[in-house]
Subunit: 432 residues, 2 copies
């Protein structure tokens, strides 16, 4: 193909991101061609409803009712998969496009988290690219940073706020003192949360992204199934109030590191010191930190979702492909992707926040302290603000660093006391 | 060259960054080869003093007393220029290497800020690369973000904290209330500032980086000479105290944008709202923000200097070259680099902080207010904390948005009053 021949793309899925991508490609094609070394032309599009008004002009493109036609069409070099869903038609389309020697650009984190290793191998076998900047943290070019910008470094930890809906809910909870259910309902009314919010608030969406980040960072196959996932439903206004008092913010944080026990991937509400840069990332923003040697800590922050930011990432991938910059899907050849052993959460080392609801009676604290001592867990801080003899009061304590197995055992023992009225609530603390 | 042939590099300059680069390339060559698709081998090095102990093993490499030998040697594919200096031997070496068809990787911001357009054209003519991730903000992969990750976006503004020494001094001034001269002396004693600190504290170093960022962001030739530069020597403990009171932090901020009047590039002490992400970047850290359409604001933060972070950037560039990922030096072909008209600072629109030292007499404020009114400058806040009749007292005021020409005229008139005892001190305010 000559330098000047356009890169011909077919876009499957014309929702917010698809329409945003069409808009961006239409806005200033000459500038894009300059950056890409050749024109990028949409030749074909596919979506469910041909008649719908998307606010964009689709007149110049061939229409396919069946997205699989994009994989088979002679006038398409690259398939842009924006249908979504881990399986079904998105997966079928991606497999078919790769098999037919077409590169694929996708925003589909679910599909890659579940089928990434298979698809990376297929891309490699057919000598094409599978690019997914848009799948992780929307407009933040974090995939490129990890795969290329920090390619010389050894990553020690990658972590981030990866779901804007959860971050928005936690931010509003903190600002208003309101409880989860209430803020979620408002977020749904405002369109910031889906009618069925479980993908977001139960941490699935963020965990998909974490699996991809960890794969690139540590050169392993994406292992979504190996992620310890806890969503934000159990975070209460009371926890947020105590966190504030203790000098922390609560974020739904994903983090991955290689430990002596294996690859640790966890995604759960996390208390982070207020002074840490990531603690101040509020609202719908995403942030990703990379702690690596020798670069040290590098932070990235930006909009993690929405048509514009995600389209920005799709088009950056297309420019890379137009320029011939084609990397292994997860940074190293797919045959070299490691099968890291999975570190069990019981082996996690860290500090913990524990909130107990207890009967305000003499001896309760002594019993709790004795259990922790027996598990070799040392207490860093303890708060019992209200006194209310023989009535329920909250007690909060934080621990020094310990092993999760010990904390779990301690909480089981504490939860069994008659004077402890609810299952103990635990939130992990991140020290930096 | 076959897939497995190593990329052979020659390193000129073995100071902190050179030694860091050698270390990093020696640390885990198999991992780097995996990311790069082939081995990266040092074949030749050059430095002033062959005998010096740098804590690294140079035994396996040919030694050249004359760095120009690296440009001419048959066993070198890529020259890594880490000598420094805008002209002299670094420039000579870079020109010679490009002319002989060798790619150059450099950390030399001064050379590129002054000779970037010429060198980019030479690289293009000889079909090689001139890569400089290490020249801007050390370990933050911001050059890659701008050139590739955000290649689909239209940049509206690029801005950043680009000099760790200045940021460290301003951070310590704020934390301790001490004055510039005092903190600078301490920074020099600690090795955070050079014996001759003017390159850092007068803003030259940061302005070099700003010229490169603006070039990539707006597709123009680097125009160091067109940057409005003010260093941090005039920032006083009093200014920092007032900034705190008004809800701002003072940072040495570089920023560039295309305005209707042309390209505006400025590097000066700037008051930034405390809540802004960049206001919280303290100490030796650098940060770069990119405000672009459609991605929105993307922030990057990390270590801006030092052997490790800078070596990380050098090696990332080498991996790119090994993989064959070769971009135009400033993102677009050098023939397409625009000569943007230069927006004069007099056309700058913004808000201003003004500190006056006045005799505490009736009527002074009325005179000042009248001048501002006559220039159509409206006052946002005014602080006169101390009363001390007929003695000098500071008055501080902030303006709403106005044009710099009006503010300059107002300050000239105010400075001429007999009751105004020192030239008015002005600091620009950034609203977001």
């Amino acid at each position: 193909m000559s330098e000047a021949a356009p890169l011909r793309i077919g876009i499957a899925g014309l929702g917010t991101v698809g329409a945003g991508t069409v808009s961006l490609l239409q806005a200033d094609p000459a500038r894009l061609a300059q950056r890409a070394g050749r024109p990028i032309s949409i030749t074909r599009v596919s979506a469910r409803d041909r008649g719908r008004d998307r606010g964009i002009d689709l007149g110049g493109y061939a229409w396919s009712d069946d997205p699989l036609e994009l994989a088979r069409a002679d006038d398409v070099d690259v398939v842009v998969e924006l249908i979504g869903g881990s399986d079904g038609i998105a997966l079928e389309l991606t497999r078919e496009a790769l098999r037919r020697g077409k590169s694929v650009v996708t925003a589909n984190k679910a599909m890659l988290a579940h089928h990434g290793a298979e698809l990376a191998a297929a891309a490699e076998m057919h000598d094409v690219a599978l690019a997914f900047e848009a799948a992780v943290a929307g407009g933040i070019p974090i995939v490129k940073s990890l795969k290329e910008g920090l390619a010389g470094d050894r990553v020690e930890r990658v972590f981030g706020i990866l779901n804007g809906t959860c971050n928005y809910i936690l931010s509003v909870m903190r600002e208003t003192g309101r409880d989860f259910v209430d803020v979620l309902a408002e977020a749904q009314a405002l369109g910031y949360a889906e009618a069925d919010p479980s993908f977001d608030v139960d941490g699935i969406d963020a965990a998909h992204k974490l699996a991809l980040l960890a794969s690139i960072a540590f050169g392993g196959k994406p292992r979504f199934d190996a992620i310890h996932i806890e969503g934000i439903r159990r975070v209460s206004a009371l926890d947020i109030e105590f966190a504030e008092e203790l000098g922390y913010r609560i974020k739904l944080l994903g983090s991955a590191r290689l430990t002596p026990a294996g690859l640790e991937q966890r995604l759960h509400p996390t208390m982070i010191k207020k002074a840490a840069p990531i603690a101040r990332v509020d609202g719908v923003f995403n942030a990703v930190g990379v702690d690596a040697e020798p670069v040290g800590l590098v932070m990235h922050e930006g909009r993690g979702a929405g048509g514009g930011p995600t389209a920005s990432a799709v088009v950056a991938d297309l420019i890379d492909l137009a320029r011939g910059n084609r990397l292994a899907t997860f940074g190293v050849p797919s045959s070299a992707l490691a099968d890291h052993p999975v570190a069990p959460m019981s082996a996690h080392r860290g500090c913990y926040y524990i909130r107990l609801m207890v009967l305000d009676q003499p001896g309760v604290l002594a019993d709790v302290a004795a259990v922790l001592r027996d598990q070799d867990v040392s207490i860093e801080a303890l708060i019992q603000r209200a006194r209310n003899p023989n009535q329920p009061v909250p007690i909060v304590l934080t621990s020094h660093e310990t092993v999760e197995a010990r904390m779990t055992a301690a909480l089981a023992a504490i939860g069994a006391f008659a004077s402890v009225l609810e299952p103990p609530h635990m939130i992990r603390i991140e020290q930096d």
